[in-house]
Amino acid sequence: MMALNRKDLLGLRGMTRAELEEILSTAEDMKSILLSDTKKASYLQGKSVVMLFYENSTRTRFSFEFAAKYLGAHTASVAVSSSSVAKGESLIDTGKTLQSMGVDVIVLRHPMSGAPHLLAKHVSASVINAGDGINEHPTQALLDMFTIRQKKGTLEGVKVAIIGDILHSRVARSNVWGLTTMGAEVRVAGPTTLMPPDIEKMGAKVFYRVEEAIKGADVVMGLRLQRERQQKGLLPSLREYTHLFGITQERMRLAKADALIMHPGPVNRGVEISSDLVDGEHSVINEQVTNGVAIRMALLYLLTRRNRDAVH
């Protein structure tokens, strides 16, 4: 099987079910490597992977870095401050510079939606989107899908409720694209001011009462609520948000008894989700992190395989 034949991973929008299946099943194998004592494979030996981050991130950057290292790649990290995006060297020039140094894969995080698409057009290296503005965060959604599939055995028909600031969430967008392609039922819930227009046309069911979204769900996913949403007037207060949309023990009683608690992190404990749920028995938040490394190993493997096959 070789469904994935792409130079880049820019988003889950437009990806086929076969492609997603291949990534998820490859990640199963990668997880075994990750959990083994040696944590070492040589699939990326001689390859260079650079983490080009225009936004602060620890978990995503380290996750990619470990994934690349476990597969034997050379790695480097470039942190560019967001404020220099407009003033400094252009993204295209930076990408071409890295490529000239022999970089095979550029992992890009950028505060502006569509930046990975721009870069991918101008470099022959593979580009992996590690989060672009409020557009997509495809590797996060893939690790969420991987986690759900491992726990529930399938994604087909699984009811996933995503709660919070959907408008500004690249995690939510990628999950809606990916999960609906895989046959899951995606519900989104949040304040009306934080709901993007016409998201139901993307295949999600929209709820403005959190209880209705959680009812009968197999998975309940919280999203980080940024404090600046209050300052910009999108919310009266975090307190009111928690009152209306906070994921609590009481509300979780409406979900299926074995429903999973997920969160892409970092968590605002007590704001979008209560601490007892974060640390509770249904929480898979830490496992999501482990699976994230496996997913990124799978993607690095699959995207560089394309080049390798061309050579041999």
């Binding site: 929008r13 995006v85 407009a86 252009s90 993204l91 295209i92 950028h110 502006m112 939606s113 569509g114 930046a115 698409h117 721009l118 672009d132 503005g133 409020i134 557009n135 997509e136 690249r170 967008r173 993007p196 227009p197 016409d198 998201i199 046309k201 993307m202």
Partner: protein
């Protein structure tokens, strides 16, 4: 003497097109009739083609002075001529801003030296387009400004806008309003709707335009002052203007070709050439714009020609400049999307792109008449071609219509009896 022979003439006055030859001498039309047997030194054979008044653009950006790397008066007027425009009114958002008589004179004299079509400067409403103090409108008018506009920057303060309309009315000057409520725009990047959700780009609510259109209509109505609304792009704006006209408000308006030829779906792939302000809207808006053109709510079509250098477009969508290089596709887009589809007749289209804008700006242009300046174009309405931005005379290659197949092509452009473009080639 120059003779344009055997073409179908739309003269901008007669109700129906007719076949005639046009004889031109010393820059003026001296005869219009069939079979002119005169020994003109130069003959343009227009058999099978249409002879129209030179187009008049009420809204363009020539970028000089200050942004000559994007466009200058030499390249911009050649681009205009290539698109069939013989008169263009250029906006004041240059650097420095056209906000005093000397700047108006500077633009006019540069146009005399380097330009190949007639250039009419539009001056700013407020000093430096800062939205704080009014410009010296009398001086601007005497220097030759044809209208006033802070285009690109809305006048957010309603009190200042009221004063501007009031003061300009006293001088018989027209204000062209760029309707955009900046607080509603926020950090929005494209039309708010399904496509902004799909692309993860912050949306701009249509209310940002409509709230300002409504405000300006109310101010114009209260003051009984004229106002011209620039680049109408939404269904709601069309309806507001339609109702205002019924009440007798002195409002006129324009739309640009991209608002009836493209939608926000064109932004997909983060195509910065489709980034324009106001943003491309939806199919529903396109239909409303066409209806507005048909029923006369929308008086004219202006290009909003906004050339940019590739350095300003080959960047992240958020950082890219707004604007479309529009001169060289305007007529073909209008013909393809309005005449071929039955929205307008060819005479109606010609009116909206020549006599209509000339009347609004009080420019003596837009007709083919004996004794008048010979600003004339010859178009081939059967000609189908593919837009290739690399062939643009404009420095700005920023067009989302690159690669589109359009019908109706400007072949020859004549300004004051002088052939500027011959067989699609600028020859001056």
């Amino acid at each position: 003497m120059l003779c344009i022979k055997n073409g179908m003439v739309v003269d901008g006055i007669s109700d129906v097109p007719y076949k005639a030859d046009i004889l031109i001498d010393k820059g003026k039309v001296i005869d219009i009739r069939e079979n002119i047997e005169d020994a003109a030194e130069e003959v343009i054979d227009a058999a099978g083609k249409w002879v129209l008044p030179g187009l008049v653009d009420a809204h363009c950006h020539l970028r000089e002075p200050g942004f000559e790397y994007k466009e200058d008066i030499s390249s911009g007027t050649r681009s205009a001529a290539a698109g069939g425009f013989t008169s263009v009114a250029c906006m004041a958002n240059t650097n420095p801003v056209v906000d005093n008589g000397a700047m108006v004179n500077y633009i006019k004299s540069m146009a005399m030296v380097k330009g190949v079509v007639k250039v009419y400067p539009i001056a700013a409403v407020t000093k430096g387009q800062q939205g704080q103090e009014l410009t010296e409108m009398r001086e601007l008018k005497e220097a030759g400004a044809v209208a006033l506009s802070d285009d690109g920057k809305p006048i957010m303060n309603p009190h200042l806008m009221k004063l501007a309309l009031q003061y300009a009315k006293g001088l018989d000057m027209l204000i062209i309003s760029h309707c955009e409520d900046l607080s509603l725009v926020g950090d929005g990047l494209m039309n708010e709707g399904y496509m902004s959700t799909v692309l993860g780009l912050k949306g701009i609510t249509r209310a940002a335009e409509e709230v300002m259109v409504a405000r300006d209509i109310i101010l114009a109505e209260v003051l009984d002052a004229p106002i011209h609304i620039a680049h109408v792009s939404t269904k709601g704006s069309v309806e507001l203007i339609r109702q205002a006209k019924r009440r007798g408000v002195k409002v006129t308006c324009e739309t640009a070709p991209h608002y009836f030829s493209a939608t926000d779906a064109w932004v997909d792939g983060y195509d910065t050439n489709a980034k324009v302000n106001p943003p491309l809207r939806t199919d529903e808006d396109v239909a409303a714009i066409k209806q507005g053109l048909k029923d006369g709510t929308i008086d004219i079509i202006a290009t909003d020609h906004a050339p940019h250098h590739r350095d300003d477009k080959e960047v992240e969508y958020s950082l890219a400049a707004n604007g479309i290089s529009g001169f060289e596709t305007a007529f073909s887009l209008a013909y393809t999307h309005l005449v071929e589809t039955g929205v307008l007749s060819i005479q109606e289209l010609v009116h909206k792109m020549s006599k209509g804008p000339a009347d609004i700006l009080k420019i003596d242009a837009g007709t083919i008449e004996i004794g008048k300046p010979a600003d004339i174009i010859v178009v081939d309405l059967h000609r189908t071609y593919t837009v290739d931005v690399s062939k643009f005379y404009s420095k700005g290659k920023n067009s989302p219509f690159h690669g589109c197949t359009l019908k109706g092509k400007v072949m020859h452009t004549i300004v004051d009896g002088k052939v500027i473009m011959k067989n699609e080639k600028i020859i001056v």
